[in-house]
C-alpha cells in the first residue's frame, strides 16, 4: 500500500475509534475510565489532525488533553469517592430529551456535511502549516494571540478567585479543611476526616 492509501485507512480507523471512545465516556461506570475514554477520543482526533497536515495543532491537542483529562479524573475521584468504579454509576436525568437532542444534532450536522457541496481544494502537501500558523499567530497584528492570551489571563485570575478559599491572596492551603462527612455539618477546621474518607480518595495536605 502506498503512503496516501495507508493514511486514508488510518483516518477511517481513527475516526471510527474516536466516535466509539466518545460513546464509551457515557457508558462506563467508572469516573476515571470515563475521563480516559474522552482522552482516547481526543487522541484519535488529534492524530486525524496530524494526518490532515495540521501537525502542530494535533500534537498540542494531545498534549493539552492528557493533562486536562488526568485532572478531570482526579476531580471525579475526589468528589465522588468512587475511585475504582466499584459502585455502579448511572446518574442521568431527562434521558429521553437528551437522546432526542443528541440524535437531532447529529442528523442535522451530518446532513449538512454530506449534502453540502464543498469545493475540493486539498491542502498543498509541500506547504509548511506549522510555520504558516506561527506567522499568522505572531505576525503583523498578533490579534488572535493577544486576545487568547488576555482571555486566558483573565480566566486564570477569575478561576483562582472563585476556587481559592481565600481568593487570590495567600497560600491556597491555608486554613483549608476537608469537607465534613455529614453533609449538614458546617465545614471547618474542626471537621475531622472519617477513616473511610482518609482511605481512598481524600488527598489531604
Amino acid at each position: 500500500m502506498s503512503r496516501p492509501e495507508l493514511a486514508g485507512v488510518a483516518m477511517w480507523i481513527l475516526g471510527g475509534s474516536s466516535v466509539v471512545a466518545a460513546w464509551r465516556v457515557f457508558r462506563t461506570d467508572s469516573m476515571v475510565r470515563a475521563a480516559y475514554w474522552l482522552l482516547a477520543s481526543f487522541v484519535a482526533v488529534g492524530m486525524v489532525m496530524v494526518l490532515l497536515q495540521a501537525r502542530f495543532l494535533g500534537l498540542v491537542l494531545v498534549l493539552m488533553m492528557a493533562g486536562e483529562m488526568t485532572i478531570m479524573a482526579a476531580f471525579m475521584v475526589m468528589f465522588m469517592m468512587n475511585p475504582a468504579g466499584l459502585n455502579p454509576m448511572s446518574m442521568v436525568h431527562q434521558h429521553t430529551t437528551a437522546k432526542v437532542a443528541g440524535v437531532v444534532a447529529f442528523a442535522g450536522l451530518a446532513f449538512v456535511g454530506v449534502a453540502a457541496d464543498f469545493p475540493d481544494r486539498p491542502v498543498d502537501a509541500a506547504s509548511e502549516p506549522t510555520a504558516e500558523l506561527g506567522e499568522e499567530l505572531l505576525g503583523d497584528s498578533m490579534l488572535i494571540f493577544e486576545t487568547a492570551g488576555v482571555t486566558l489571563l483573565a480566566t486564570m485570575i477569575g478561576a483562582i478567585a472563585i476556587a481559592g478559599k481565600r481568593g487570590r491572596f495567600g497560600n491556597a492551603q491555608e486554613g483549608s479543611a476537608p469537607p465534613p462527612v455529614d453533609p449538614d455539618a458546617p465545614a471547618g477546621p474542626d471537621a475531622r476526616p472519617s477513616p473511610m474518607h482518609g482511605g481512598h480518595g481524600g488527598m489531604h495536605h
Binding site: F26, L57, M64, E68, L109, I162, P179
Partner: protein, 101 residues
C-alpha cells in the same frame, strides 16, 4: 469522500456531546459532554481547512480559538465546581435547585 466521512464523524462526536451534556447529572460529566462538542467542532474545522480550504493559513486560527475556549471552559468549570463544593458540598445539578447561597 474523506471530507464527508470526517464531517459525519465530527457530527457524531457533537451529537454524543449534546447527549452527554444534557443527560448527565454530575458537573464534571457535563463538562465532558461540552468538551466532546468542542472536539467535534475542531475536527470539522480542520477537515474543512485541509480538504476544502486549500490549507489557508487563517484556517488553523479557528482551531486555536476552539482550544482557547476549551481551556477557559475547563478552568472556569473546575473553579465553579470547587467553589460550589466548598459552600454546598454539592457535585450534582439536582443539589442546586435553589440558587440562593
Amino acid at each position: 469522500m474523506e471530507l464527508q466521512l470526517l464531517l459525519v464523524v465530527s457530527a457524531a462526536l457533537f451529537g454524543i456531546g449534546v447527549y452527554g451534556a444534557l443527560s448527565q447529572q454530575t458537573f464534571v460529566m457535563i463538562m465532558m459532554g461540552i468538551e466532546l462538542m468542542l472536539n467535534g467542532a475542531m475536527l470539522a474545522a480542520v477537515a474543512l481547512w485541509a480538504m476544502s480550504g486549500a490549507g489557508a493559513p487563517k484556517g488553523q486560527l479557528l482551531t486555536v480559538i476552539v482550544m482557547t475556549v476549551m481551556a477557559v471552559e475547563a478552568a472556569l468549570g473546575f473553579a465553579l465546581v470547587i467553589g460550589i463544593f466548598r459552600t454546598r458540598q454539592a457535585d450534582m445539578t439536582e443539589m442546586l435547585e435553589q440558587l440562593k447561597g
